[in-house]
Amino acid sequence: MNKLHSALHAIARRDIPETTDLWPLIAARIERKDTLSMNPKLKLAWTFVLVLLGLILATTAAYALYRFIFNDPGLQAVGDAGLVTGVNATAQPTLLPDPLSFTQGQRAALATQIDGGLTATLVSAYADAHRLSFVVHFDGWKPDYAIGIPFLYDANGVDYNAGRTNAAASDSDPNTWTINILPFSELQMERFTGKLHVYVENADNPRFAEFDFAVDVPVGKTITFQPMQSGTADGIEIRLEKVEMSPSHTRIYTCVVQTPTLSGKWIPFWNIALPDGSGVSPDEEAEYKDLAAGPSSGTANCATTGFPIGYESHIKTLRLTADHLRFLFDKAIWELPPADLQAAQQKLAAQGIQASYVEPADPSGDSGLRVTKKPAGMDDEAVQWLFMEALGIEYPGPWSFTVDLPQ
């Protein structure tokens, strides 16, 4: 035990007694905040302001959800093509005795169920090789309810490879939710027969209502082709190896032919543009994919990403642009060698930028990239990419491909 350590502890013990107790003061401050009273006029004014803010926020959130799910061009296209299976069975409130005991021809057995004060109806179901999508309507829904992670089971009751999932309420009807499931590997059967398990939660109860819907839907097939295109930027070649299109969705596979400075996993970040100039967002960041036995390159440095445009959208060409190529590594940026971080900060300083990375330890959100100086008009995201570029873990490209789609 070193002696300075002992001295500090002795001083602290001497001047701050063991009996010190802040709780009454803290509790009182919380209580004061909770019971803060206002005069009626001020309260009315604040209520009006808060309602207005709430409306603005709700509108913004609803628009974001609309953009995210209900403006899904792939789903719209398959809906227009009549490929979505309408279920919407006559409401027969009951629990499902055996979710898989449906007979041939039934789209979903007992598609309306009651649990936890909620009545849930499976309105429609859709499946293609790349995704499954379900619309569920709830009666008795409350604003603080949320859908938990949905589960998908195959006909044998085995947890199917549900992969990524998301759920969002309709902006026009907050009681109606669309649940998307993107399986890890593509569905290769003619029909998907199984069970969708959905549960609802709120702050007090993680699973207060659970529903099982039997599902029997046809699976839309994929079209696969190999554009064999190549693009070079920053001295790095990226090949567009393979495109898989389902009715509502497209998945692309690309490989980095010459690995940049660091050997390891590099993934591109894509922008997808439609012929009319509009764009569509990828499902999420690209995912590293070992295509060692892939179509052409033999390299292991390949990645895949998907986006909601399928062949039912009848689009003739797609413009794919990777405007970032980033190294995937196991460490967080703030765990990189300090000398590397300092060297990068010096490069940024020459561009008028001062920034650092903070360990995400503070619950107040004071973590990640911290920008203290930047040129006018530059946003923090741009600083982030420049920081990674300075670290040598990101290349700006761009790599562009124009893909003619089979009609």
């Binding site: 002696k3 001083i11 709780w23 003061l25 971080l341 503070d362």
Partner: protein, 191 residues
């Protein structure tokens, strides 16, 4: 109730969770803040505010992460800010007038010490002299001493906290130690 249960309760708006965390960590947190601010009341204010911040932002806290390290770091940060704001630093002459005397041998030991100053502390009187000398450091220098010798953080942890290279942390620590030695040496020359 354990720490994870307390944080979960807090995330669900239950004040019992906060009460548990306060009772568990308040004493250490106040002492940390006191060593940085040198003001017991200010230290208590800092820690109160830190717990209220925990209450406000509990929803965003990852309950899988240990509570104590980040909480103590946030207390140190807040204490440094509070000390700067309160401008608690005393002029050197104040130390010279307040510091109890030290015999020549002791002062000589401080001056000639090539290693750490901690090796020199042997008595309550020495503790008091160190305490007075610490008051002459900047809040940031006091913070690194407290992090290293009270919270027992290693240099890597301090580097993460300070967003600095380990070399920078070494430099900060050495600068704080040199300043301590210099201040303790000045006692001798003042007498």
């Amino acid at each position: 109730m354990d720490e994870q249960q307390a944080i979960q309760a807090l995330k669900h708006g239950k004040i019992d969770g906060l009460a548990f965390l306060v009772s568990t960590y308040q004493l250490k947190a106040i002492r940390v803040a006191y060593l940085v601010t040198h003001d017991p009341q200010l230290a208590q204010d800092v820690v109160q505010d830190a717990f209220l911040q925990v209450h406000r932002s509990a929803g965003s806290f990852d309950a899988r992460r240990p509570f104590e390290p980040w909480f103590m770091r946030s207390v140190v940060r807040a204490a440094v800010k509070a000390a700067h704001k309160a401008d608690r630093q005393l002029p050197l002459s104040s130390l010279q007038s307040q510091a109890p005397g030290a015999d020549d041998d002791q002062a000589e030991r401080w001056l000639v010490a090539q290693g750490s100053v901690e090796a020199q502390v042997e008595s309550a009187e020495e503790e008091q002299r160190i305490w007075q000398a610490l008051r002459q450091l900047s809040p940031r220098q006091r913070a690194v001493i407290v992090q290293r010798y009270f919270l027992e953080m290693n240099e890597k942890e301090m580097a993460l906290e300070l967003q600095a290279a380990p070399g920078t942390v070494k430099w900060l620590l050495n600068a704080a130690r040199r300043r301590l030695r210099s201040l303790l040496g000045s006692e001798r020359s003042a007498r």
